[in-house]
């Protein structure tokens, strides 16, 4: 059982460590641009650093890690349906690009 009592008292150092980690991860994402990493490696690194940062913020800073599973699922699962939207729009965007290339490019 996750006794949530300890949360109220977890030491300030927890937050300082997460803060430092977020700083380092942000520095890494900036380095990706600074050193002109290109192509698939660039996108992979950007996505990895992004999700690591987002995960730390949501789980530690927003205390999601210590909430009950019901609240975790109620908040974290619904956004997954956005993947459908993103998928559909990617297909649509590709199609529009092809159509424009054929019909409108001089």
């Amino acid at each position: 059982m996750s006794s949530a009592h300890e949360d109220t008292q977890h030491p300030i150092s927890t937050y300082l460590w997460i803060w430092l980690l977020l700083f380092v991860l942000s520095a890494f994402s900036y380095m990706v641009d600074y050193f002109h990493v290109q192509g698939l490696l660039r996108w992979t690194l950007i996505i990895i650093f992004m999700f690591l940062k987002a995960g730390l913020i949501v789980s530690i800073f927003m205390h999601m890690k210590w909430e009950r599973r019901a609240l975790q699922l109620a908040i974290l699962v619904p956004p997954l349906c956005l993947l459908v939207l993103i998928g559909l729009m990617a297909i649509e965007g590709n199609y529009t690009f092809l159509t424009r290339s054929v019909a409108f490019t001089p």
Binding site: S26, R68, I75, E92, G93
Partner: protein
């Protein structure tokens, strides 16, 4: 054994954890989320806000994928000359660090709130608001540079695809609005902490709820930074 949660609510004995806990929480004809109502509502608001920002970012993906005109290189557009040579994306990097720092101070403010340390909570919240205001200030500087010097407009720009301007002003503008609202929100809550409102009511939930909003603003920036500036 009674379990005291984060917020000091007492969960009844024999509370079930994990997936079986999800079933009992939703099915046993009781309040589903054993948290302060304001916290549950803030989470639901943030969920809806997630959808709004995701729609913006998805539409940005769509216009960027579908345009046949080359997309301006954000690395160059947002470069800034500091002592001669232009440094790519430097202002955006500083803005990112400022916002992350504000999240750090906010997390500590919430912690001190639950420790009932009124002075430190107030101070850390005001520092957070200060970082937020700094962020908005830098964004105003960035917008000014883009509009006045680069000639970028929502309907077109001299660098390439017209959609660059429209999505940029839409997404960062909406985010900046959230930060500005957050600064006001934080200052209001900080002053109420200082006045002792939560000391009297015996509950520092309001600080955590304000914190949730603030961390969300930082969270959105993580995605904007990755998809708009770095991609």
């Amino acid at each position: 054994m009674a379990v005291e949660t984060m917020s000091g609510h007492i969960a009844p004995a024999g509370v079930v954890e994990g997936m079986p806990g999800v079933v009992t929480d939703f099915s046993s004809d009781k309040q589903v989320f054993p948290v302060h109502w304001g916290k549950a509502m803030m989470w639901i608001f943030l969920l809806s806000d997630t959808f709004i920002f995701s729609c913006f970012l998805t539409s940005y993906m769509h216009v960027r994928m579908s345009t046949t005109v080359p997309w301006p290189n954000p690395s160059e557009v947002f470069a800034l000359s500091l002592g001669g040579a232009p440094i790519p994306l430097i202002l955006i990097a500083i803005m990112t660090f400022v916002l992350i720092s504000s999240s750090g101070t906010m997390a500590m403010a919430v912690n001190y709130g639950y420790r009932r340390n009124r002075g430190r909570t107030t101070a850390l919240m005001l520092i957070t608001a200060g970082f937020g205001a700094t962020f908005v200030g830098m964004q105003a500087f960035e917008w000014t540079k883009l509009i006045m010097e680069e000639g970028i407009r929502p309907w077109g720009n001299p660098l390439g695809a017209a959609q660059f301007g429209s999505t940029f002003f839409m997404i960062t503008g909406f985010h900046g609005l959230h930060v500005s609202a957050g600064v006001i929100y934080l200052v209001v809550v900080a002053l109420r902490v200082w006045r002792g409102d939560y000391e009297r009511s015996g509950s520092y939930e309001a600080v955590e709820i304000a914190g949730l909003y603030w961390h969300f603003v930082d969270l959105v920036w993580v995605f904007i930074f990755a998809f708009f500036y770095l991609w």
